[in-house]
Assembly symmetry: C2
Homo-oligomer: 223 residues x 2
DNA sequence: AAAGATATGAAAGTATTACTATTAAATTGA
DNA sequence: TCAATTTAATAGTAATACTTTCATATCTTT
């Protein structure tokens, strides 16, 4: 039962006006998730979003200064949510190996259903992360944005799980590399399985992505 | 000595007029590589390129129907070149393990110098692959473009190296997943090392990316 | 219930992008 | 040298990514 009254707080640097503070704000976030999924990030515009929610483009700009800022917001929301799930699923588990396996599964499995506690559709958001999130940090402004904390949530999640790796094998040299490889890799593999299947080895219902990365991590960090 | 009179042939579907067929064409490709590196793909435009090479925007459109098409061309050129290096470096090598190690090194090491046999700067092209190539296939048109062969060269390289994996361990279940994870992973790690260093474990001069992936592959496919 | 503050909407405007189309001039090649 | 091809110049279009201004609606406080 996931329906706790949990609330995900987003760093105020990531919006101009908090979208959670009004109905319009929530509708902007909610509908943008649907539209980015439908149209792809490139074809999605604030003008189209305005039409879809029956609001004005200029009103949307009061919440997010650009569609890029909105994407960054969504990505941070996603990682905050994953972090919450991670902490929730690993507390009271003593075995470091078990904790790590839980984390890897969380990173690599598809989000299939949304036991919703908010207005945000996590199934669609997961798809956005898979298809669009690289666009957020592959910009000429990364360094500047990184300084402002735009990628903090993601980095914190990687740090948490890297610590689990070190708990198992304190001498392992590359924990961050391993974990970010797993996360990004799993997203790529999911995308490839749908669009460029010859780059992957996914078979219907066999859970290969989760199996591959779980096994990979275990073998790599073995002492 | 790499200065063979080797020539990289690009699938004619990937351009409107072959840029290698004229000085203007070569200048378009050559200068676009520099400009995409300097400005980033988003800020790069055919108008700016026209100004830079002292030519007209409309002339550039006779070679490539869009800047996206140009990026796809560059990516294919890159993978053709890697494929050439791969084949060249692995012929006459009998040990499958040695061949695989050569391939992994080729994928994961930085391109540092350009023993040029063409007008294309491979050091810069490698940087474009690292920073921009995900943008080529994270589009709503992937499926269509994939059918037209836009990603064929990359897929062929992955296939070649997957075959090496199977030569070592014919029972290994996920050769394509492994190889595309290594390639994409190494690119990510290189990017992270410069812009989001807490997601990686790169240390100056220690070749960690190559070491990490070489070791990873070896451990994963061990019988 | 009035006054003030704040949020939203409507409309118009700007600079730029990603092209397309037309026509003229230059270059090349048989 | 004549024709074909290539490139350049110019202009034009629809859309994008915003910004600005001002009016109106709604909420808050007294």
């Amino acid at each position: 039962m996931e329906s706790l009254s949990i609330h995900i707080t987003i760093n105020p640097e990531l919006y101009t006006k908090n979208p959670e503070s009004s109905d319009l704000g929530k509708k902007i976030v909610q509908t943008s998730i649907e539209m980015i999924n439908d149209l792809g990030f490139e074809s999605f515009t604030f003008r189209k979003l305005g039409v879809a929610i029956g609001s004005n483009e200029s009103s949307i700009y009061r919440y997010f200064e650009s569609k890029h800022a909105l994407l960054v917001y969504l990505i941070n929301w996603y990682w905050s949510w994953i972090e919450y799930k991670l902490v929730f699923a690993t507390t009271n588990i003593t075995s470091a190996k078990d904790k790590l396996n839980i984390a890897i599964t969380l990173f690599t499995q598809e989000v299939k259903e949304d036991n919703s506690f908010t207005f945000i559709n996590k199934v669609l958001l997961n798809k956005i992360i898979i298809s669009e999130s690289a666009k957020a940090y592959h910009t000429k402004d990364v360094d500047e944005e990184n300084k402002k904390g735009f990628y903090k949530t993601y980095k914190r999640v990687v740090q948490r799980v890297s610590d689990m790796v070190l708990e198992i094998n304190p001498k392992f040299e590359f924990p961050h590399m391993l974990i970010s490889t797993v996360i990004e890799g799993a997203h790529h593999q999911r995308y490839f399985s749908q669009h460029l299947p010859s780059l992957t080895d996914v078979e219907e219902g066999k859970n290969n992505i989760v199996r591959f990365y779980t096994d990979l991590v275990q073998k790599i960090i073995a002492k």
